[in-house]
Point group: C2
Chain length 360, copies 2
């Protein structure tokens, strides 16, 4: 869900075709020795995030990963391997490389297993940032499957009734295909908002609404610092006990278990920013019922939800994935808005890397 005050203003943006951004990302990564197929996957994931309006997980991420690759913090080329396997599960290593790439291969493997046994699940035990989590479940849609993905992160969210960060924003994403209607695509942090939204508010110099974060006594905080430390925490979805904060917190721990404890990579309270264990699942719909019937029932459900009379002052009722699909339609035609300053930074990086692509 997007919040207007966090958006790049139109007068500050240039509109860049998706293909230009894709070529830029791919070239930049290849310039630091990322193999072509891995660069392709990473560009696919980042561009799809930009196209869907999830700009915090788009091309801007290059500015973080290129230096990490050059410093050796990321191992390139990475060696992705299956460490343990059963008919419908697998444990994979990311080889200390780009998280996008292993998450992509994990979902490919889960889809393959689902095709054979009905469902497949894969966990990654030494994962890194996987970007827009919805990307991976969306891979299942093309195969007429349901997809799910979860990833944990370092401590930034408090347990309900707690006053220190002890779980990550631990997002979950889920995608299911429809027939004529657009697919249902949920992608949500289990905190009230994602961490990147708070970072963005900081960068834009705007306060955040009460309910998103607390100080070290548990009192509301509307101007959190950029730096993650023990003096402040994001709130779990629900925030207070009365409003269900134990549920957002509970989901965050559930995700820590499925991603970090099950893979052995560790739960969020123990590791540094930038570590993200991942768990993905694919379900072959045809093993349960005919795909056509499933999709037609999805259509009916989506129409019924869309037809819900809105509350006073609201325009219409949406389903998960609607805002992103709307933005996708516009951006495919009009290009992806990139902040002029950010374009400048990216183009200086391109010069430095000696690649010919530019953001323009």
């Amino acid at each position: 869900m997007n919040f207007d005050f966090l958006k790049v203003k139109n007068e500050d943006a240039i509109h860049v075709p998706a293909e230009t951004i894709h070529a830029f990302i791919k070239s930049a990564l290849q310039a630091v020795n990322v193999p072509e197929d891995h660069a392709q996957i990473t560009a696919d994931v980042l561009v799809e995030a930009n196209l869907r309006g999830v700009d915090t997980h788009g091309i801007v991420n290059l500015l973080e990963y290129i230096p990490m690759i050059r410093s050796g913090d990321y191992t390139i080329p990475q060696n992705i391997r299956v460490l343990r396997e059963s008919d419908s599960t697998a444990l994979m290593t990311n080889g200390n490389g780009l998280g996008f790439v292993s998450a992509y291969y994990a979902m490919k493997l889960a889809i393959e297993k689902a095709g054979r046994t009905g469902t497949g699940q894969v966990a990654i035990c030494d994962g890194r940032h996987i970007g827009m989590v919805a990307y991976y479940p969306m891979m299942a849609l093309k195969e007429d499957m349901i997809g799910m993905a979860m990833t944990n992160g370092s401590r930034s969210v408090r347990p309900v009734l707690g006053a220190r960060p002890r779980v990550g924003t631990n997002p979950i994403a889920f995608a299911a295909p429809a027939n004529i209607e657009r697919p249902f695509i949920l992608d949500m942090a289990t905190s009230t908002v994602s961490g990147r939204k708070i970072e963005l508010a900081y960068q834009l110099g705007v306060p955040i609404p009460e309910g998103w974060a607390v100080d070290s006594e548990g009192s509301p905080l509307t101007n959190p610092p950029l730096e993650r430390n023990e003096n402040w925490s994001q709130n779990p979805l629900g925030n207070t006990v009365e409003q269900g904060g134990h549920k957002g917190y509970g989901l965050a721990v559930m995700i820590d278990i499925l991603t970090g404890v099950l893979s052995g990579g560790g739960y969020g309270a123990t590791f540094q920013f930038g570590r993200n264990m991942t768990w993905v699942m694919a379900i072959d719909i045809s093993k349960y019922r005919p795909v056509k019937e499933f999709k037609e029932m999805m259509d009916s459900m989506i129409r019924e939800l869309h037809a819900t009379p809105p509350q006073k002052g609201a325009k219409r009722v949406l389903i998960a994935g609607d805002p992103e699909a709307d933005i996708h339609e516009i951006r495919i035609k009009k290009g992806i808005p990139i902040h002029r300053e950010q374009a400048g930074t990216l183009n200086r990086l391109a010069e430095e890397l000696g690649i010919s692509e530019r953001i323009k």
Copy 2:
């Protein structure tokens, strides 16, 4: 999570041993022709709910189900069958009988499949109320597995920005074993609170907190009627867009898809109160990593979460399942508190059924 104002007052209660309640339930069900094994399973589920303090899903449910069995609304004995099956998935019919029984067999089958292929999932396409959802994932704990269960329900919760009920309270439950520490057991409605909590508040004549329900314009409602209709809705977890209400709503739809659309039984907006499609999953931990290592990491995580400094005014930080496990310890020793009036009603039912067991 329990709310003090919803609890039975001590002076109104008699304390009854779990065994007495179990024998009562089993006899009562057998008196209306439920086969012994099915009566046993149902009694196990209802008593466990009472022991864990989830009294809304305990013996009191008999007062609802016995009349439904006698009226023929439930088919007894029920014929539970697997309709479609793959190595790691299955679709089951509940045979229009007690939901507890098919959910139990679904989880048994999921566990069996997980033991063979790594994971197993089962959906029920004509389900009924399954009681305390946590019961089924908890079955996986004994097998050193992770368990998950979801169930949908008839319309009672609004989509975010909507002003009519269009999804159920659609709960999700999840259980994972620890070594020395108690297991992590999450059981949550995807609305701010379960529907039964609002019913209980009505019966006790107390208002509910703002944020739990809205009227047909979407304005807060603190005195909802008992009857479910189009004039009021519960709120999804998160409530407003600003506080993440699209997340609670999104999870509710995700659960409608996995339980109702995938099974073919239908999504909540289309069916009557008392219909509940269910989806369960078991994951064999040993297929991912050695069980001992998993459990030891669970212990570390749980200890770290428990050690979180509490917010101002709070006593301690818990994990999901702690309050219920605390109550379980007390009730195993001191018995289950039953409201005197309820005991009277149950004992009149026993007389009518011609069974010798009494709640005392």
